[in-house]
């Protein structure tokens, strides 16, 4: 990176951390520290929800996903607007009217203390571990780019967030989310515009999308109902709905965001706007990936995008073999280029026959490219024994190789800020749940406001340290995205089941739902350990099991009515 890049990166990070610390002076009591006094307008809520959900991987992985697999990933979010509507109607009014700090607090009123403690405990376990992974994911990539030891990038990623979440609480989290989303959006827009500028002079924006589209990258919609197809309209609407409902409805890192709204209306509007904006945002991020794909049709792309792995294989006994693949790849790319230009010209003149001819040729050439890439990945796996998936590195490699000085620093800042946004919300939610559901409820019930703020700060600090330690061990867990999803799937379904019973099954009592949740969680863990099903189905299984077992227990073992 150039000096200018370092300056841009340093200024972006200092601004966010400094601003977060500046906002911390307003915290005088626990309501201010954990809920920002429920004083924030809807746009704060919306941007905070979006910043919490969008991690570094969102901005690194999604463009790479579009490059390799097309834009069909957007369908994954089709259930989100539906989930937002259900949350606005059911969850938000209940949480606001009962004036809860955490989602789990509501469960004590509806059921009992042990159900509240069980769900809070499951959340703390899941969120504490997955936040460690959220810190580790950008750390490993930054470590590869900057050449720093992973320990230091972990400490920087997790530690910078601690600086302002410990002092500033929810208010600092929400205000920094606003600035972070501003910088992240600016960075992605500039990246998109720069890709278009880098295209050959006679290739326009629409030409580029046409070229990518003819090569199957604009595959946005698939109406086929196929359980084995991960991304189609139906899996997005049905599966996505359950996933987003459990994430936004029962995960305190999100519930804590919309509880900061100054009224039920502001919390609802924040969620509603998230429902309106999330899909277009994801579409635009994927479009950047498609443009990068189009750019690399006119310029030879790297055979493998993770440079660290390439360097390792080139210093191994497989170097000559890899070099041969590099040469073959370059040769196919140079043969492909005249056809890409011919396709672009045919598109300009609406020459249908020419378009069809060049599309067929390019389809065959692309298959050859994919074959060479597979061979290269197999070789890397043989030489290095790890990490043959370079999807997360595609966009980053493009940024480093082609973006001008200053913009590289900005895009690295985007990655770090995106990570900081989700990690900040996680620290805050972990502290809220620990203090409200454990400490204030069971340890010290009569503390002063200042005492609880002090305890909340120390708790945030403690969770920060814990998450950084988890990040240090995260490399042993394999694929990051899969590890995060597995962790979520092990707990989300059961917690959602408890909340759905609370809202929609008034006749079911606390004893039935508690044992329903315990049995459901044991079954979910057993299903995962014995590999009874793919882990994504655990969300649905956990949820349905809790509802069914609780209903059954209430029938056969009804709870005695208190006198």
């Amino acid at each position: 990176m150039s000096y200018l890049d370092w300056i841009v990166l340093g200024l972006s990070l200092s601004f966010i951390v400094g601003y977060g610390i500046y906002r911390s002076w307003e915290n005088k009591n626990i309501e201010s520290y954990l809920l920002a006094n429920q004083s924030l307008p809807w746009y704060h809520v919306t941007l905070s929800l979006m910043a919490t959900q969008a991690s570094a991987i969102t901005f690194l992985s999604a463009p790479g996903q579009a490059y390799t697999d097309g834009m069909r990933f957007v369908q994954f979010y089709f259930g989100l607007p539906l989930a937002m509507v259900v949350l606005c109607i059911t969850f938000v009014p209940k949480f606001h009217k009962l004036k809860v700090f955490t989602a789990y607090e509501f469960l004590e009123g509806r059921f009992d203390l042990r159900t509240r403690s069980l769900t809070a405990g499951l959340f703390l376990l899941q969120r504490g571990l997955s936040t460690g992974l959220s810190i580790y994911a950008p750390s490993i990539i930054l470590s590869a780019i900057l050449g720093w030891d992973i320990t230091w990038t972990n400490i920087i990623s997790g530690g910078l967030v601690m600086l302002y979440t410990v002092t500033g609480g929810a208010r600092a989290v929400s205000h920094t989310h606003l600035q972070q989303m501003g910088i992240v959006t600016l960075g992605m827009v500039i990246a998109g515009v720069t890709v278009v500028k880098l295209l050959p002079d006679d290739v326009s924006f629409t030409d580029a999308i046409h070229v990518a589209g003819k090569m199957g990258k604009t595959n946005l919609i698939d109406f086929t109902f196929d359980l084995n197809n991960r991304y189609n309209v139906w899996s997005g609407i049905i599966g996505g709905f359950f996933l987003q409902l459990s994430y936004f409805g029962t995960d305190q890192s999100q519930v804590g965001r919309y509880l900061t709204g100054s009224s039920i209306g502001n919390s609802r509007l924040g969620l509603a706007m998230n429902g309106l904006l999330k899909i277009p945002m994801q579409f635009l991020i994927l479009l950047v990936g498609v443009l990068v794909f189009a750019f690399y049709q006119f310029t030879t792309p790297p055979l493998f995008f993770n440079q660290v792995q390439v360097e390792k294989v080139m210093s191994s006994q497989y170097a000559a073999e890899y070099q041969k693949l590099e040469d073959k790849h370059a040769q196919i790319q140079s043969q492909k280029r005249p056809h890409v230009l011919a396709l672009s010209a045919a598109l300009d003149t609406d020459d249908e026959a020419g378009i069809a001819r060049e599309r067929d040729v390019l389809g065959a050439t692309e298959s050859e490219v994919q074959q060479v890439r597979k061979e290269a990945q197999a070789l890397i796996s043989k030489a290095n024994g790890q990490d043959t998936n370079d999807v997360n590195y595609i966009f980053l490699r493009f940024v480093i190789d082609y973006l001008p000085a200053g913009l590289v620093g900005l895009l690295i800042a985007v990655i770090l800020l995106a990570s900081m946004g989700s990690v900040a919300a996680a620290y805050n939610s972990l502290a809220s749940t620990t203090v409200i559901d454990v400490y204030k409820r069971m340890v010290k019930t009569d503390g002063t406001p200042e005492h609880y703020v002090r305890v909340s700060r120390w708790t945030t600090f403690g969770w920060g340290i814990f998450c950084i330690i988890v990040a240090q061990y995260a490399s042993r867990l394999g694929s990051m995205i899969e590890a995060v999803n597995v962790l979520g799937s092990l707990f989300y379904g059961v917690i959602l089941g408890v909340f759905l019973v609370a809202f929609y099954f008034k006749s079911i009592g606390s004893r039935a739902v508690f044992w329903g949740a315990v049995i459901g969680e044991v079954f979910v863990f057993a299903s995962y350990i014995y590999e009874l099903t793919a882990f994504l189905w655990l969300n649905l299984i956990g949820c349905v099991l809790v509802i069914f077992i609780a209903w059954l227990l209430e029938k056969v073992w009804p709870q005695p009515v208190k006198a």
Partner: protein, 49 residues
């Protein structure tokens, strides 16, 4: 500076959404936009494929 007390709201004070007259209309708008986006994405795909 004293912290503002947390508000207790009646349904009348919950506020109405902008652009529309009621929350059910807002939910209808969200679902309508979802359908419109799916139609747009389909047209986009057909046009560029």
């Amino acid at each position: 500076m004293r912290a503002k007390p947390r508000s207790i709201q009646t349904p009348e004070q919950e506020g109405l959404p902008p652009f529309v007259k009621s929350w059910p209309q807002m939910y209808g708008l969200i679902l309508g936009v979802l359908v419109a986006m799916i139609v747009f994405f389909y047209a986009f795909m057909i046009h560029f494929q």
